[in-house]
């Protein structure tokens, strides 16, 4: 291939930085009665924690990316609110300038649309989804939860060489407001339509890029038959089956899926290699990229492969309870209180960005931030705010709440001291409560604590710090 012929459409049209987020859990067995023989090794689905939703996963994916001048976008089919913009919550958690607009994109095609706006409008975008089916649905393990994030305005990760879209009105997956699971039309019909749309978009994008073949082919589709057909048709001489293999480990992750598969491809792409991404859902979108020289540093978080390897297996009963598909008796205890709008607004820095106040007199950190330093008692010296969200905190004492109103038999609550100053009282998450010990290093993670009176209450929890520093992690 003659690389010199590969010119980007415009110099700054591309992906400047990216990250993928896979939740900590994997479900491999969805038998209601597990007393029989275990099933043959089949597909697995990625499962968001009971305290995660598309807002929290988007924050996790985006937390080390910078805005590039364009809007903040959140693409999903499972927004936590109707009528209220989820991207606004993400915007607050990221601490973006108020001049950066925030918008939600909805629907299965929105993941590809968000990517398109990253490339063409310099958007900062996350695509995230939490997907459910009825228990026992044939594709229950074929759907999954994930997020992917991309920053435009540059091409350090990948330059855009070509793109094409193909809009087709088709009744494939849909859901009425208030319904929990997608309804699905006969996939043999929709596969044919989507595969045709995908092929058309791919050919036009390749033509625009002046390429006949590419180094990596990545196919995402809400319809697994369409995905298989497109992979077969487009693979050509490319031997990789990485997209299909990843999909078997996560399930189709909705709006996040094209981004997740692309992120995994970028994790492996060498500078200069070409990547074709085809997303076939509600029509199709195709993109041709050339990996940038700065692609390794452009990844702002752990690789998809490392996140897959770190997952914990989840039992089906817990999965059903987490998703509200199994109504389990809780404790005789009132629901955790709903937060109120004015206090949330006044303390947005603390609630959304974990900002304590640092005393100008003694240097100690007070949490939540307060006018008077908790350590030295001097008033008015705590105007400086310091975010604790990217620091390590070490457990001072821990307890296990067996009367929790969360959908678990027990949760760990810790008091932890932050390296560099500050103390947090926090729920531990992504760890069995009994495994949390005094001295354990933990890192803040944005979660949905509870939902009361139709208000989602977001705040930071602590999860065990990564056991090793990943050398390839972004240096941001």
């Amino acid at each position: 291939m003659d690389l010199t012929s590969l010119e980007p459409l415009l110099p700054d049209q591309g992906i400047d930085a990216y990250a993928a987020y896979l939740p900590a859990y994997v479900l491999t067995d969805n038998r209601l009665d597990p007393t029989g023989p275990a099933p043959a090794k089949g597909p697995a689905r990625s499962v968001a924690g009971y305290d995660e939703d598309v807002v929290t996963m988007a924050v996790e994916a985006l937390r080390h990316l910078d805005a590039a001048g364009g809007p903040l976008l959140l693409a999903t089919t499972s927004a936590p609110y109707e009528a209220k913009t989820a991207a606004g919550i993400v915007h607050e958690a990221l601490g973006l300038d108020p001049g950066v607009s925030a918008a939600d994109l909805r629907g299965h095609r929105s993941g590809a649309t968000a990517l398109d706006l990253v490339l063409r409008a310099g958007a900062l975008a996350a695509a995230a989804d939490v997907r459910t089916t009825r228990p026992g649905a044939p594709d229950e393990l074929g759907q999954g939860d994930a997020a992917a994030a991309f920053a435009g305005g540059g091409a350090r990760a990948a330059a855009l060489l070509g793109r094409a879209g193909h809009t087709t009105e088709i009744l494939e997956r849909w859901r009425l407001p208030g319904e929990r699971h997608d309804r699905v039309w006969d996939e043999r019909f929709t596969a044919e339509i989507l595969a045709a749309a995908g092929l058309d978009a791919a050919r036009r994008a390749l033509t625009e890029a002046s390429l006949a073949t590419v180094d990596h082919v990545v196919v995402s589709s809400s319809n697994p038959r369409a995905a298989a057909a497109l992979r077969k048709a487009l693979r050509g001489t490319v031997p990789s089956q990485q997209d299909a293999a990843l999909e078997r480990a996560t399930g189709f992750t909705g709006a996040a899926h094209p981004g997740l598969l692309l992120a995994a491809a970028l994790d492996d792409a060498e500078p200069g290699q070409t990547v074709l991404l085809v997303s076939a859902t509600e029509g199709a979108d195709a993109f041709v990229f050339r990996a940038g020289d700065g692609i390794r540093a452009a990844r702002r978080g752990p690789s998809v492969r490392d996140q897959l390897a770190a997952r914990q297996s989840l039992g089906y009963g817990r999965y059903l309870r987490w998703r509200g598909l199994l109504d389990v008796q809780g404790p005789a205890r009132p629901a955790a209180p709903a937060p109120a709008a004015p206090p949330m607004h006044r303390r947005a820095g603390w609630k959304y960005r974990l900002e304590g106040s640092q005393c100008g007199a003694c240097g100690r950190v007070t949490t939540p931030p307060s006018r008077v330093c908790a350590a030295c008692g001097i008033a008015g010296a705590g105007e400086a705010k310091v975010s604790l969200r990217d620091r390590t905190a070490r457990v001072v004492s821990v307890t296990r709440d067996h009367l929790t109103t969360m959908p678990e038999p027990e949760v760990a609550v810790v008091i932890a001291d932050v390296d560099g100053g500050g103390r947090l009282s926090a729920y531990a998450t992504d760890v069995p409560p009994g495994d949390v010990t005094v001295g354990m290093p933990m890192t803040p993670t944005f979660r949905r604590l509870w939902t009361t009176d139709a208000i989602h209450n977001y705040f930071w929890k602590l999860r065990p710090a990564p056991t090793r520093t990943r050398p390839t992690e972004g240096t941001h």
Partner: protein, 394 residues
């Protein structure tokens, strides 16, 4: 600056205390009437009209002084409602004391009440102001259970020894409660019962927790020089202190969850006022806030009864048993009585009053001269603390 004994000494001349129970058939109003009538009824020469001013402590069973004025139909009297977490009952007493000590009134009454069992919930529940939703939704046992692992870590106490000490607190207090007809639970418990009880928070099972009950208590306080006009056996307030913590233990790093600094400060001041220099030998008995078993372990050290790191051993050695060197929670404590928040502080004082007058029957501590009542609220790292020293002699 200072925390001094009041200019006028004060004395308790009468007290009343309802049984602490699941009072399904009594309201908070009924409980207050019962406690006040018992209290006033014990003084033949006194009627309610002789009481110049009233305080009523309740966390959630009423608002304003009318919590007391209405059920008793008090006419033309000042009544103040106070709240200070689980030390609410003590706070009612403290403010009543100041009113008499100041000379403003000659006779005052402190009352406390809580009606917890009208809620269908298992533990304590409170209504807090609208907030930003960033606080952990602590249960009380979860907050206090943080003491156990921190204490073990600080003093090298292994899990078995710590468990035995916690179990001992529960067994001791229930054994004492078995001797007290006013207690909610009147049955001694075995180690197996305590240790096999359903888990609530961390190492704590349900038998490590105080019960939940309804109750009320009341005290009549006068200046010490007037006390003998009403009773031949007044009980004198020798020292008293209250500290509202800054909450720094949860808001900045440093606090290690092996102590209640607020209790240490309050005890130091109360002892100083009372002339107590060696509480471990001078105090005859103590009523302490055994809301959860590890609390009592730590309090033995904060009150100066045990050396740091040694309370677990002293407990196991029987030092705080009814027949021990320094009996603690002789009436059965929160463990046996449950914890109707506004009433608890006055219930503790009722046992001190009873013991110091020599009226405790099977629970009587021989030759009781000085008693400590210690009451706290909040959680380790962020609490309010009350300590009083009461004596049979002025």
């Amino acid at each position: 600056m200072g925390s001094r004994r009041t200019t006028h000494d004060v004395a308790i001349v009468a007290m009343g205390c309802t049984p602490f129970r699941d009072h399904w058939h009594s309201s908070a109003d009924d409980l207050l009437v019962d406690a006040v009538q018992e209290c006033v009824g014990s003084l033949p020469s006194v009627t309610l009209d002789d009481v110049d001013a009233f305080w009523v402590g309740t966390q959630g069973s009423g608002m304003s002084g009318q919590t007391l004025a209405r059920p008793l139909r008090l006419t033309g009297k000042p009544v103040t409602r106070v709240e200070n977490y689980c030390a609410t009952g003590s706070e009612a007493f403290r403010n009543a004391v100041f009113a008499v000590a100041s000379g403003a009134y000659d006779m005052v009454m402190a009352t406390g009440v809580e009606k917890l069992k009208d809620s269908s919930f298992s533990g304590l529940s409170a209504v807090y102001p609208p907030a930003d939703g960033t606080d952990v939704d602590w249960t009380a046992p979860a907050g206090f259970s943080l003491l156990a692992p921190a204490y073990q870590e600080a003093y090298g106490v292994d899990a078995r020894d710590m468990r035995s000490a916690l179990t001992k607190v529960a067994m001791k207090n229930h054994a004492n409660g078995a001797l007290n007809e006013r207690a909610q639970f009147r049955k001694a418990v075995t180690a197996e019962t305590v240790e096999n009880s359903p888990r609530i928070a961390g190492p704590l099972g349900v038998m490590d927790c105080s019960g939940v009950s309804d109750g009320a208590a009341a005290a009549i306080v006068v200046r010490a020089e007037d006390a003998h006009r009403y009773t031949s056996r007044p009980i004198y307030l020798k020292g008293m202190s209250f500290v509202a913590g800054s909450g720094a233990g949860l808001a900045s790093d440093g606090y290690d969850f092996t102590s209640f600094p607020e209790v240490v400060a309050a005890a130091r001041q109360a002892y100083e006022q009372a002339g107590v220099t060696d509480p471990a030998t001078q105090i005859s008995l103590a009523e302490v806030h055994d809301c959860f078993t590890p609390t009592e372990v730590v309090l033995m050290e904060d009150l100066g009864f045990s050396e740091r790191g040694k309370a677990w051993r002293d407990l196991l050695d029987g030092r705080y048993d009814l027949g021990g060197a320094l009996p603690v929670n002789t009436d059965g404590g929160l463990k046996s009585f449950g914890h109707p928040i506004g009433a608890t502080g006055l219930r503790m004082m009722f046992e001190c009053f009873t013991q110091l007058r020599g009226e405790a029957g099977a629970r009587q501590v021989p030759d009781a001269k000085l008693a400590v009542a210690q009451n706290l609220g909040g959680q380790p790292g962020s609490c309010v603390a009350f300590v009083a020293v009461l004596g049979s002699e002025r």
